[in-house]
């Protein structure tokens, strides 16, 4: 059992303690928003390999983990990054070169899978994707599936409604639960016990957090438990789900963190060019990630001027009139 006072950790120790080679990882956020990027960069720095990543639509975080060679298998619904990358670039290259194995689901299916994991049931039903290749084509062969007891032997199963005629439904798709070894989310506020508060959209973070065997929460602000309990309606994750709390300002950078900062459109445009060229990408890894000791040094590379430019306007929660072309 986790001893409460030991939860507050620095990023490097938290990643070293819970994220291992070959572990099954899930990360929170969605495309350009609230990806736990500080943690992603630390995983890359620590050289984790052959991991199995679960995502629904985590653009930037997925692309950087894949680009740095940390991922062997990926289960995903959408690998794009909005207008910055209709298809994530290193992901695209890795799939086309056959260096990662991908299993495709829909967004709702991935959400149900995390939800099933959080509920402790083996699967949840939906009608989504009946008649499609999401059902007919498997990215992981049965042999690959049988080699890892942490993944089910079936990608998904189509079956009859066990309540005949109920809700006008004959056929259903049963999607299997996910219980990641570790989930990492970045939130706006948390206390040292782990109670966490997300502002803006929660995406699937809450389901991902509750499905995990271990949960790391990185936060913009570390606040007192008293402060968290004064506004409990705003909190989504109770302390007992959490194994490590890391105080990490700008922890989602270069993705956005609502009410704190916007995504960095200058970096994301640069990244598009960098990621499209193997030499530039290697130099990027060396200069921005391996060459920086921690997230603060990574932020120093971006520079204070850049960070000030994307700071959120207090009325809207994003940087108004930001040059996003």
């Amino acid at each position: 059992m986790t001893i409460r006072s030991e939860k507050l950790m620095d990023l490097s120790s938290a990643i070293a303690a819970f994220v291992t080679d070959r572990c099954h990882l899930s990360i929170g956020g969605f495309t350009v928003n609230r990806n736990p990027m500080g943690a992603v960069y630390e995983i890359i720095r620590q050289g984790r390999k052959k991991m199995h990543l679960y995502a629904h639509s985590n653009g930037q975080g997925v692309d950087e983990l894949v680009g740095a060679g940390c991922i062997e298998k990926l289960e995903i619904a959408y690998a794009g990054n909005g207008r910055f990358a209709p298809t994530c670039i290193r992901f695209k290259q890795a799939v086309q070169n056959g260096t990662i194995l991908v299993e495709d689901y829909s967004n709702y299916q991935m959400n149900l899978r995390f939800q099933a994991g959080a509920m402790g049931v083996p699967f949840l039903p939906t009608r989504s994707s009946l008649g499609t290749d999401i059902i007919n084509k498997w990215g992981f062969s049965r042999e690959v599936r049988e080699q890892d007891p942490r993944i089910p032997d079936e990608k998904l199963v189509v079956g009859k409604n066990p309540f005949p005629g109920w809700a006008d439904t004959e056929n259903l798709v049963f999607v299997p639960a996910i219980n990641p070894d570790v989930t990492i989310i970045h939130v706006q506020q948390a206390d040292e016990l782990g109670t966490a508060r997300i502002q803006g959209l929660t995406m699937a973070d809450v389901e991902q957090a509750k499905a995990a065997k271990h949960l790391i929460v990185t936060c913009e602000e570390l606040v007192t438990t008293h402060e968290m309990k004064l506004h409990p309606d705003s909190n989504q994750i109770p302390h007992f789900c959490v194994d490590a709390v890391v105080h990490l300002p700008w922890g989602a950078y270069p993705t956005a963190c609502y009410n704190f900062y916007d995504y960095d459109p200058f970096f994301l445009n640069d990244y598009k060019k960098i990621a499209s060229d193997d030499n530039l990408y290697q130099k990027y890894l060396d200069d921005y990630i391996y060459g920086t000791k921690n997230h603060q040094e990574r932020l120093d590379v971006a520079g204070d001027l850049r960070l000030q430019t994307i700071k959120a306007d207090p009325r809207t929660g994003y940087a108004i009139n930001l040059d996003r072309k």
Binding site: G29, F30, T31, V32, N33, R34, H56, S57, G59, I76, A77, Y78, A79, G80, G82, R83, T87, C88, F91, K92, Q96, D104, S106, N107, Y108, Q109, N111, Q115, R127, S128, S129, L130, G131, T132, D133, N136, K137, G139, D168, T169, E170, N171, L172, G200, L201, T202, M203, A204, E207, A256, Y258, D262, Y263, T316, G317, Y318, I320, N321, R324, K325
Partner: protein, 268 residues
């Protein structure tokens, strides 16, 4: 780069100079009924939803798969998780909520979905996953995201496509999002409750689907385009006998699009 299609000088309805992307956006917006609950993705589909709300469907509600309901959209979001979708909403929820609104018995019927894809077949089945073999793809795309979900669930959907032979194909390389599947009765046989796509909006035309056979046909073509040009840009034949020329956008529609929907010129 913007292409000026036609100038339409001297028409009584005050036609505007417009670009092709503007025409496509307006064409899609006009298909959205007032009172609709509009599900949209990023890019042109988001601008079309905003245009509908400003022009012909003022009582509609835009929502995103990320769970943002009725966002003010003071600035144009560049992703459905852009913080711009989170400001001044009715509800900031989560993905699970958003997909429930598409399927529950009360709100599901009102949802209009807007999607895009890399390939489409004559029954409106979509591919947004791979070109080539799934296990050794020539080109890999983003994958379904919420597209397969919305295509499975809702009764009304609009699809944006570029009209090219390699995109309008006899068989999609990977069927990501269900259209009418194999035609009449296909969805029922698979167990899908929602309907297949209503319209395909391209850079040349609006395509509809036959009520009985569910096969695609040419509904209307854009000013300056001929039905034969459209057929030349598709790998399969479609019925062109019912096709008419589309009314170009009015200057009022174009003004709203430019000034209210995408004033920073990020998408259009």
């Amino acid at each position: 780069m913007q292409l000026i299609l036609t100038e339409n000088k001297g028409r009584e309805t005050a036609m505007a100079d417009y670009t092709l992307r503007e025409l496509m956006t307006i064409a899609a917006a006009r298909e959205i009924p007032d009172g609709a609950i509009i599900f949209c993705g990023t890019g042109i589909s988001m601008v079309a939803a905003m245009a509908a709300k400003h022009i012909n469907a003022p009582n509609s509600t835009i929502f995103f798969e990320t769970g943002a309901i009725d966002s003010l959209l003071e600035e144009l979001p560049l992703a459905v998780a852009d913080p711009r979708v989170m400001y001044y909403t009715a509800v900031n929820g989560a993905l699970n909520d958003a997909f429930c609104y598409m399927q529950n018995r009360k709100t599901g019927k009102q949802v209009v979905g807007i999607m895009g894809a890399a390939q489409i077949d004559c029954y409106g089945n979509l591919n947004s996953t791979v070109i080539g073999d799934y296990h050794q793809p020539k080109v890999r795309f983003s994958g379904s995201g919420g597209a397969s979900d919305v295509a499975s669930f809702v009764d009304h959907s609009l699809i944006f496509m570029q009209h090219e032979k390699r995109k309008f194909v006899n068989k999609v390389d990977y069927l990501t999002s269900p259209g009418w599947l194999d035609g009449a009765g296909g969805r029922e046989r698979a167990g899908l409750t929602g309907q297949g796509p209503s319209k395909v909006i391209t850079n040349m035309a609006i395509m509809g689907f036959d009520k009985i056979t569910k096969r695609m046909f040419l509904e209307s073509y854009y000013p300056g385009i001929t039905p034969d040009q459209i057929l030349e840009n598709m790998a399969f034949d479609v019925d062109i006998s019912q096709a008419k020329e589309l009314l170009p956008p009015t200057s009022e529609e174009i003004k709203i699009l430019r000034e209210k929907c995408d004033p920073q010129g990020l998408i259009i």
